[in-house]
């Protein structure tokens, strides 16, 4: 049989899949004939910038074939050997016991039988379930498709996600400049052109965009940063780690102690205030409450002190003269602040009181005229010219979800009778103690007030949860203090646990029943590159071309795996709910319905889209850039394609989403809703971390550890499944036949502990113990350990024992489950101390 080529899409880019004799032989970035590309051109300083005629995926995507055929694929339904739904369930053995292969019939009977039993006994609210993000891609088959439709149909108790990559922006910056509909992250439209034309300096603050890559847009922006470097734009990096972007840009490196970033930011404003080098007209016209802030910075009033560069030096270890020099240069040049890969994000926002850092990032730029040419908050990974007008569904927006979209006859996600909710960060406590409270609705994208909602579990008239349906990925590597997840799984409160996934992740073997799902290479779907929709509208602007993809089924599902939609249809059938769930549609019927509801159907027929496999949306010849926040700086109505901005198109279109419509140095939304919150005060404060360099735990564990987002994997995806990655030393390192997770340590700290590069080391504190391989490097500042928080594998020395040493590098077992602050329900993996010693076995 000759080779066939199929089109498909991943979380890091579009691909061409080559199949021969029923086997995938090769996977390349999507092959599009050169003549079909119509690249945009940006002119700046007499030079023309234009992207290459090619697609550049994220590196792990090039290991997709290895991931697909991984020995860690789940190929058959499995039952834990000592789980008997009619007898002994042995929940205490979850994570310890082995599994036996069972038939699909048996597996479906058990799952549907348990759903029936638990619903009858306790009601639908006793069923909970949750998904990881991005192990697959596609509108129909991905997490907010069939899984949400199915679970809501059961009237389940959802587990709300926390905005785990941008906590401080979500819980803090929203109260400074609005953008709650973007979960606190700023617009990024047309900022590439703005930077190429105007920006003279970029301050990368806690940001490594060459590693985090605009989240889903692969390496499309790598070339942009090369252009900026060649243009001679000065780059400064503030990060305890000499990060990969710093290496590329050859910038100046300032390495503060973790948790001191807010102090540095405040000292910069101190210099501007005392030297009169800030934009006073902008402050007067565009902002609110500056005098309160100024008083706080200058140390006016009781219990206050001046936030001088010398004070910030004592906190951060960055010499005061460097802080002053940076402040002066910043004020005298058109400076872009790059504080996270999407503008907002960055490790510093995932810390104790990380709200205050994110608020300060906005206020820094407000003092220099945020939105004026060259003065932006820009991650350098989004902001290419693009035609954002044609609508195409994306998984995170209601019209892209089969449980909510108008194409569905029954919008089951809106019909869930259960009002009770759980929260991912406190889920273990909720299950283990039987009660829990938390602030906010997880992703609070509807209003500023949504953060002030107080949730109680169990909710009156609802049951505690008894069944847990887990879908895709593992949290042992990515959430905080994850040994608690082991305890949760072993609780008899959870009478039944299902795990449905394509690959074994750390969590899969804590289930009673494991269901084998196929990947999106084994089913039909549609999707747009990088476009998640929802709270990040038009995320395709991280790509050089807007690519809509017909995700073609490349081969039959491996083993006995089935698509998520098929699995859930089969369960629904046994529940007598098949018609309700499917509405008589096959998976591909849904894909076609979504396509027909989109603007693409006006440009290309379904048949043609099917056959060709992709559609490139060209940038119009008369494209007019609308740089982010320019409208605000110039006092015009919002003119960007930020369609979710609720004031856009109204008589308040000139305003931001704050209560005053201005940038708030003193937050009105905090003043009106939580005026007495000392941990998220009306004016941002520097508050020392409860687990920082001056805390009590630091006396016992004198090393801080940071866990940024990974370079060669995505969340837990690709790690442990695509083993080709294991030969990249920055990802894992082989020693004695085992692939170890690296922990980076400064030579001074290593020497003091007699640790050499390549030694197996134990990272430990009161919460956990994790083994890693030491990478002794000057790239990490003294006193700090760097290790990525995303191992897919969980490999405790004593299986099923929560406090057992993990061998696979789940460094998040060390981090605390304490939240950003009392009312800011974010995770804090970068506020953690530990000690490290050579592992003698």
């Amino acid at each position: 049989m000759s080779e066939q080529v199929f089109t498909n899409l991943t979380n890091g880019g579009p691909i061409s899949v080559y199949v021969k004799d029923g086997k995938i032989t090769r996977i390349r970035p999507m092959q599009i004939p050169e003549e079909e590309y119509k690249p945009w051109v940006i002119e700046a300083d007499g030079k023309k910038y234009s992207p290459p005629k090619a697609m550049h995926c994220a590196p792990p995507v090039y290991s997709e074939r290895d991931r697909f055929y991984s020995e860690n694929r789940i190929l058959y339904p499995l039952k834990r050997v000592d789980f008997d739904p009619k007898g002994e369930r042995n929940p205490q053995n979850r994570g310890k016991s082995g599994y036996e292969r069972i038939s699909w019939d048996e597996a479906l009977d058990i799952v549907s039988g348990e759903i029936k039993r638990i619903t009858e006994e306790y009601g639908g609210s006793a069923i909970t379930g949750m998904t990881s993000s991005h192990h697959n891609w596609g509108v129909v088959g991905y997490k907010m498709g069939p899984f949400h439709r199915f679970m809501h149909m059961l009237n389940y108790t959802p587990v709300l996600d926390n905005p785990d990559s941008w906590e401080g922006w979500h819980w803090g910056a929203t109260h400074t400049y609005g953008f709650y509909w973007r979960l606190g992250m700023p617009e990024q439209f047309d900022l590439l052109e703005d930077a190429l034309k105007h920006t003279e300096m970029i301050v990368f603050w806690s940001n490594d965009p060459d590693t985090t890559r605009g989240t889903y847009s692969g390496q499309e922006s790598s070339i942009w940063r090369v252009w900026l470097k060649e243009k001679g734009v000065k780059c400064v990096f503030i990060d305890p780690f000499y990060n990969y972007t710093n290496a590329v840009m050859d910038g100046t490196w300032l390495a503060p102690r973790p948790g001191s970033d807010t102090a540095i930011a405040m000292a910069i404003t101190y210099v501007w205030i005392t030297e009169n080098t800030y934009d006073k007209t902008y402050i007067k016209e565009k902002t609110f409450g500056f005098d309160d802030f100024k008083n706080y910075i200058l140390g006016v009033g009781d219990d206050n002190y001046a936030k001088t560069p010398e004070w910030a030096e004592a906190e951060s270890g960055i010499p005061a003269r460097k802080i002053k020099a940076l402040a002066r240069e910043w004020a005298s040049k058109k400076t872009c602040l790059s504080s996270g890969c999407r503008g907002g994000q960055g490790s510093a926002c995932r810390t104790a009181f990380g709200t205050e850092w994110a608020r300060m990032m906005v206020l820094l730029q407000a003092m220099q005229g945020l939105g004026k040419p060259g003065i932006s908050i820009w991650g350098t990974t989004m902001g290419a010219p693009a035609d954002s007008d044609p609508w195409f569904p994306a998984y995170a927006e209601p019209q892209g979800q089969m449980g909510r979209a108008n194409i569905a006859k029954k919008k089951l996600c809106f019909e869930n009778k259960t009002k009770q909710r759980l929260f991912r960060l406190t889920l273990p406590e909720a299950v283990l103690t039987g009660k829990e409270e938390f602030w906010g609705d997880g992703f609070c994208g509807q209003s500023l007030e949504q953060q002030f909602v107080h949730n109680l579990y169990p909710m009156e008239g609802h049951s505690k949860v008894k069944m847990f349906y887990r879908y895709g990925g593992s949290f042992f590597g990515t959430m905080s203090e994850t040994s608690k997840w082991v305890n949760m799984y072993q609780s008899s409160e959870l009478e039944f646990v299902v795990n449905q996934d394509c690959w074994y992740g750390g969590e899969a073997k804590f289930a009673d029943i494991i269901l084998p799902a196929c990947t999106n290479l084994e089913r039909n779907d549609i999707g747009e590159w990088a476009a998640c929709g929802g709270y990040t509208t038009n995320a395709h602007i991280g790509c050089n071309y807007r690519v809509l993809v017909r995700q073609q089924k490349c081969i039959e599902p491996l083993g006995e795996s089935k698509s998520d939609y098929e699995i859930l249809s089969l369960v629904a059938d046994r529940l007598g709910m098949k018609e309700l769930f499917t509405e008589g549609n096959t998976e591909d019927d849904w894909a076609k319905l979504f396509f027909e509801s989109s603007d693409l159907s006006k440009k290309i027929s379904w048949e043609k889209f099917n056959e060709k496999g992709y559609y490139l949306t060209p940038v119009p010849d008369d494209y007019k850039p609308t740089p982010s926040m320019r409208w605000f700086a110039e006092g015009r109505d919002c003119d960007t394609p930020d369609t979710s901005n609720p004031k856009k198109g109204t008589d308040k279109a000139k305003e931001l989403g704050t209560y005053t419509g201005k940038i708030e140095f003193a937050s009105e939304s905090l003043r009106q809703n939580m005026p007495d919150d000392k941990e998220r005060p009306i004016v941002p404060h520097f508050i020392p971390s409860w687990e920082g360099y001056k805390s009590d735990p630091f006396k016992k564990y004198p090393l801080q550890i940071i866990l940024p987002h990974p370079r060669f994997s995505f969340h837990t995806h690709y790690d442990n499944h695509a083993q080709w990655l294991n030969d990249i030393a920055g990802h894992r390192v082989k020693k004695d036949g085992y692939y170890w997770w690296p922990a980076r340590i400064n030579p001074i700290d290593a020497k003091a502990r007699n640790i050499k590069g390549g030694d197996i080391v134990e990272l430990y504190n009161d919460r956990a113990s994790v083994l890693c391989i030491a990478d002794v490097t000057e790239r990490i500042r003294e006193g700090v350990i760097h290790s990525y928080g995303c191992s897919a594998k969980y490999d405790p020395l004593v299986p099923g024992k929560a406090d057992s040493t993990d061998k696979a590098g789940c460094v998040n077992m060390l981090t605390t489950s304490k939240l950003v602050s009392k009312h800011a329900s974010g995770c804090t993996p970068n506020s953690c101390v530990c000690e490290i010693r050579k592992w003698e076995g």
Binding site: R26, Y62, I223, A320, A325, R779
Partner: protein
């Protein structure tokens, strides 16, 4: 006749390892007779990316050097094996014949770049084929170059003066060099801006230690007393001399009006962060 080559600009390489992974995708488990047999899983690196960390303290640099078979004009591996076991095609690509090279481990040992791997199971040496099977089927690029996100890697016909690679090599001729030129094997893989030692530091004034000093003049002078390089400190008071030759003794001088100048000797056996230079007031 074409003369295929690859040019690699180290300044543009981001160390993303896409080239390494795309190479594995093409060759692991896939035979391309008669040019190559399948690469075993997690056992070989036909292209590797060497990470170079240099400098120290706050003055640090990272570079990446992708290294694969250099497709040398004077390839020592060709001489090592029996007749025809390793051959050079008319287009310059060096191929190990998977049949004729069976059992000849000496081929592997002959390569000074150490880019040939040994397939234990098949008893044969293996390496990069510059995706010759793709070129033979009419493709215009090779896998590692195709996925390079910044254009740091350029593939093409070096015999054609109008090709992209020829133009690049001509335009940046002063930056072009061989990796390990001391091997003298005339590689078809060319490098631009390979890492070189640098000297960096900061200048401050002893009576103003709390301020960064912009605009101090810093010079490097060689043995003969010639000023080789001259720069000024930036707004952080930092200076840097990049791209220096290795193993040279320089005199580094920092000057600022109204202050005594400071001198020191710096040897570029490796990159140096000379730290803070304090100038005393006259």
């Amino acid at each position: 006749m074409a003369r295929y080559g690859i040019a690699i600009d180290i300044e543009k390489c981001t160390g993303c390892f896409s080239c390494f992974l795309a190479c594995r995708d093409e060759y692991v488990g896939n035979d391309y007779p008669p040019l190559s047999i399948a690469q075993p899983k997690n056992a070989q690196k036909w292209i590797d990316v060497k990470e170079i960390e240099y400098g120290n303290g706050s003055k640090l640099k990272m570079d990446y050097i992708p290294v694969m078979c250099q497709h040398c004009e004077e390839a020592p591996c060709m001489a090592a094996g029996p007749e025809g076991a390793v051959y050079r095609r008319d287009d310059g690509i060096v191929i190990i014949d998977p049949e004729k090279a069976k059992g000849h481990k000496e081929i592997l040992d002959a390569c000074p770049y150490r880019v040939i791997s040994w397939n234990e199971e098949k008893n044969v040496p293996q390496k990069c084929t510059m995706c010759a099977h793709m070129l033979d089927s009419g493709e215009k690029t090779v896998r590692c170059v195709e996925v390079c996100p910044t254009g740091a890697m350029v593939f093409g016909d070096m015999a054609d003066p109008d090709s992209k690679i020829s133009k690049l090599l001509a335009a940046k001729a002063e930056k072009v060099e061989d990796f390990k030129p001391e091997f003298g094997t005339k590689p078809a893989v060319k490098y631009l801006s390979l890492p070189k030692p640098f000297i960096a530091g900061e200048v401050i004034l002893s009576d103003k230690p709390d301020e960064c000093l912009k605009g101090a003049t810093v010079t490097l002078t060689d043995d003969a007393g010639n000023t080789v390089l001259k720069t000024e400190t930036d707004f952080f008071g930092d200076f840097e001399f990049k791209g220096l030759a290795k193993g040279i003794d320089y005199t580094l001088t920092a000057v600022f009006e109204g202050y005594f100048q400071e001198e020191m000797t710096v040897r570029t056996n490796s990159s140096k962060n000379v730290g803070i230079i304090k100038l005393r007031a006259k």
